[in-house]
Subunit: 424 residues, 4 copies
């Protein structure tokens, strides 16, 4: 974003893209009630209603408030209510209380979206400067991130309800019936100096993926698929959660303090394992990738099988050579299972993959200029990088340079385990 | 409740009373959206939807499940979801998460109410045993308590929204315009042995008001009205919140730990005082009683003016001799102001009044028999008694023997300050 | 203390009494190291060193600083360091950090004591005004309270050390060998109007015991002895700690949150019960009174046996009629066992006894005048009264009007269970 | 440690080195009382007594218990009491309670040390296998780490005492009188592939420094000295602590939650700045390096001056080319000031230097074999690397490959700020 992006798209294309992304956000709540859209079952998640409002606030604040002369603010209270974390913009409503706001109502928020949409399209219909194009592009990528968040958050919000509500219904015939997987293969990579990151020349990239730079990668091998539920169950059944041996010290403290004995959405009921999904409670599919694990769990599992997690550079290198195909993308909100035909599979279409890299700036990193500079840079501490993408990520929001990041204890995103090893 | 109640009412009267109380609960949400009814802005309060469901669960659990032969449970999940605190019934859904349930929806809960209403009326239409009459009476009194709680909780839930939503609208002409009050007078009472409590002979009474027993009361004097906002403001302006002198040790620790500098709903904005009400933010009415004060605040204020809080026995004695009139009861959801014509006023129609009595059993106290025995008895520690009633209390739910109770730090109920003194 | 105390004692007697009390405090640490005297294993307890300094600070602050013309402060830093909770005197060092002060050393504190002793005796040798006599008397009673606290606190401080250090050694022949007790008898008391409290005419009494006033007590019966370990074990063995039935709501929450399954100092090791004592770990003596129980535990046990705890007025009435004898006072730091010859025994020489009375002011209560007024009054919320005395209490510090008070969850004092019942 | 270390030293040399290191630990408490040695003013620090015992426990557990046939354990309780965090060895006494152990006494611990010393020397006098040499070397390096910790912890333990005790005394003539510093110069480094880490061929190195491997470093410039107190004061005086602009998001949350407005040991008293030191409270020396800053503070300061922190690879590269001289090492326990003659100074003899590298394994990292494998590896999450060394570090414990690590919020170690920049 700090570099000029040369006319990536034409005006009409941009307007159509804008409309399409904005419409998709709304489609995500088509099966939800206003009550559903207000849920906030822990401080890390936000109500769907809030996501819908905040993504509009983003365009209002960074585009309309700056680049639209006659723009009249929809509601001055929203400046605080829907500011997520931009101190440069001003005060923010307390994050953990977002679920305690019934006003504005969902209907009010939808009206707000409509108002913003019209105002943005009106700006786009006059003159698109490179600056405006940049902020539109950032805003749409931002909205796509929130689309994935909406799906993650709804799942969490429903998960604590003992009724286990389903976000969508699943016909029995749709339930994936693959039940086993071929053994993991480790693909070798030689030492190399590789290009990491992007200069956002031909494709949008966030500031945290920039600049493109060279990294020396040591010989390693990389698993051809993600760890499955069956494999992870092996760890559980080997006293994985009651023996500190394989855990990082902070990880062991975390599972002790929270009495964790299994991944976030797993339930052991009357001698059988289930997993909470967007389709309600389903029997645990042993061939599906282990998902919703924390970094601590991923790291402990890797140690258990004498492997380790890859660095984010190893991951990007592997993805450069085994370009992820999105063709296998299912229409279900369940992580895709391994495709045995792929040399290296499940790179972007199944679960995000914890790396052993801390989320830190690349050499030469510069935040986006202006108030949107808080977008990524200020979170560069205490978090770990996840690479890839997941079944909830909008398809055109994926790229091999993408850096996702979460705290090591978090697990409500679709986070899985890719193994790696030092090449011997 | 432990005593037999002789046919207080006839069958039709009972059915009409049942319908009327149940209908009133629903009327309280007539101006609210489903989103409003789901709010739970702190663990102490519950969503309106939850109150509507729990009061139905009460009849289902203690009446239909026991006394109705063919009763079919509406939804077995509700047994846990809407159990407040009855360990004898079983597990309970986590109190602090009640606002995180979008399902059942408000519509589902209203259907549940209808189903319960029909089932109860059907029971009442067959044969009313004394036992059934007792449990109906208890259930209706229980529901009336929750009606007051609904109004308290809605107020709190709206109060943290910076938009300050109004539960109801108030015409400018309705705003109370009394701005000053005559000085407090202290009415003397001689030493006496008085009857305290009720045997529930002619009127329903909770187990905690029983049995009627004699108490020796020492000479005291009792304020003819409640402390006003103007008077309480004098305490604030005398560094009341920055000087430990008048505070109980626990109270001082509480206001320090929570940075309290004023009562719960007061706001100081641009040099003026406001109070959040069911009508949104209103200028602080100096003649109105100070309301939403904690026991710690009430006790500190009393010390500040060289007075003390009355015991619950002194309060009951005063109320016996100055029977509270409910005629002055306003239709507004604002505490009534002092009526200078009353010898002792504002006993039940304005704010509950903190007493200096801990909530403990009366001599000879016995909990209601059966599982409903958890109703009152198990809360007899750490709480203080409030007496009287408030503008939110259903009118026919008041009596001079009524014992309300809250923790000393709580303030989201309509709690005001009645002063007393040792008679010298 | 608010009343004039007429020459209770002569000058020499007072000086001797002063010397004797002060000396006894020092004797309590004769078997302890400087390291032992610095321990503070939880915020509720204080290091022995701190007690020795604070009781000297009390005389310095309330006597020497006010009544001694040429008194030179020993060390100005001590004003803050050894102020317990007197906001009227000024700031206080953070209570929970008292164990984190190695300077002043124990030797410094002993020198401080000597300095204060000399200064006080010098004041007493000149002229004793009634005011001075009052503050000396208060200071010595205050010191006696701290003597009991020192013994309580040392026990707690040693209890968390897995080595289980012994404060004193016990010869095998000294171990009490009584192993069983006669069944509890309930002694009846008729309704009466009784005198409660003291006017401090012939004997010192704290402000919280004053004034003497009449109370109407209803018919009750009162256990002739305390509940034994054997009896309490019956409660444990009947799933007492895993069933909410008999617990107050706050009590159940407390034992759940803290995973409590037995009284504070009990240990179950290899199938046998032990109790940590001033003599290290001893096998649980089944005939000894259950000690170190919280109010919640006492209340749950009483409910378990269909009894209740007495009110503090019932306790005082029983003690008036069955004057406690201190003759049976053992020299061991273990609660005395029941003496079957006593009509009502173990009133003051064994364990303090939880009552069902909240710690609140008596009618007409006035705090001591001046800064020492914070002594008792400001703690009159959230605590329950214990009556009697215990084996750790200095013998001449006992009286039937004495009101001890602790929070319901606390158990590091010698707190036992006296049962009572409504007389039927 | 995972590699064989060829006879680094002869037997006598090893014994002498052992004696010398062990003696130095004891010398650190020569001016402390037993009370001082028991202090633990926060959970992160340990009592000096505990350090003295734990470093002996280390030899007992990893050497004597394994390699000495007839070794008789000194006290079986110590296995738990002085185990820091080795789950492979067994249970550990609760870390935060170490200051609550008066037994064993300091004298007991010194006797324990003597016992261990004799047993170790006896082993060394028989036959030194490579394994034994390795564990001795590890144990001595471990002890040297604890020597620095002892000095850090004593400083913290004294710092919360309002008396501000001095660990050592300082003559007025010893007070450093340098008051100003030349402006920072940035030294340029070109892109290079460099060797990072050690194979422990000629010098001991921890497992976390291994293996030696190549890293590609991008062009950068590196400050010739550390940031001074004067410079850091400029940040404070520019509203550094009240403006979120330069802070990482977690850092801003941390200083808000803890009300931080200055570095850990700074005090602003009557308009003047002081710093707590091993010599008590001293006026803040403006020319001295800013010390005891957290990673958050270091990062915010760097942003404030448009710079950044170096990576640990940049730091090691700079140190390779500007070999740190220890000649300027003062005998004072105060960070050395900049030596203007050095091209790049203060590398190891002043303060540790926060890097912008997370503490993670090197490619090919393997923990030490056996139970000591918990030494370093399990802490590789959530911490940041500090490089260099500080004035408290034993002189022969320094090397350019050394990786120190702390959580970003911690500041009780001697942590300073080295600036770097991308080379433009």
């Amino acid at each position: 974003m700090t570099n000029d992006i040369k006319h990536l798209v034409g005006k009409n294309e941009l307007i159509e893209h804008f409309k399409s992304v904005r419409k998709y956000s709304l489609s995500l709540i088509s099966a939800l009630s206003a009550e559903d859209c207000q849920l906030q079952a822990m401080a890390d998640v936000s109500p769907s209603k809030w996501h819908l409002a905040h993504t509009s606030w983003f365009f209002e604040t960074f585009l309309l408030g700056i680049h639209s002369r006659n723009y009249k603010v929809f509601n001055p209270e929203f400046k605080i209510l829907f500011n997520s974390y931009y101190n440069g913009i001003g005060e923010q409503f307390k994050r953990g209380n977002r679920g305690s706001l019934s006003r504005p109502s969902l209907d009010d928020v939808i009206a707000y979206r409509r108002y913003i949409d019209e105002a943005v399209i009106s700006v786009l219909n006059t003159a698109i400067t490179p600056e405006i194009e940049q902020i539109i592009t950032l805003g749409l990528n931002h909205e796509q991130q929130h689309q994935e968040l909406m799906l993650m958050d709804i799942k969490y919000n429903f998960s604590i309800n003992p009724i286990f509500p389903a976000y969508q219904s699943l016909k029995p015939t749709q339930v994936p019936n693959q039940q086993s997987s071929a053994a993991i293969k480790f693909i070798n990579f030689d030492q190399a100096i590789i290009n990491i990151g992007s200069n956002a020349e031909n494709q949008f990239a966030y500031d945290n993926e920039q600049p493109k730079h060279s990294v020396l990668v040591h010989p390693f091998s990389f698993a051809n698929r993600l760890v499955t539920n069956a494999e992870y169950l092996g760890f559980i059944n080997s006293s994985g959660y009651s023996n500190p041996q394989h855990w990082l010290s902070d990880g062991w403290a975390h599972i002790q303090a929270n009495n964790l004995t299994q991944p976030l959405y797993w339930h052991y009921i009357n001698g059988e394992w289930f997993e909470f999904t967007h389709y309600g409670l389903l029997p645990l599919n042993l061939a599906a990738p282990a998902c919703h694990v924390s970094y601590y769990e991923a790291s402990a599992y890797a140690s258990f099988v004498n492997a380790r997690l890859p660095t984010e550079f190893e991951w990007e290198y592997a993805a450069q050579q085994h370009a992820p195909s999105n063709t296998a993308h299912t229409s279900l909100l369940l992580p895709n299972m391994a495709d045995s035909s792929a040399a290296i599979g499940q790179l972007t279409d199944s679960c995000w993959q914890w790396t052993n890299s801390a989320y830190l700036p690349y050499p030469g990193f510069k935040p986006i200029a202006g108030v949107a500079g808080e977008y990524n840079g200020k979170f560069m501490s205490n978090q770990m990088v996840l690479r890839g993408g997941c079944v909830l990520t909008p398809a055109n929001h994926l790229r091999t340079t993408y850096r996702n990041f979460y705290y090591p204890h978090q697990a409500w995103m679709c986070s899985g385990i890719r193994l790696a090893k030092d090449k011997t």
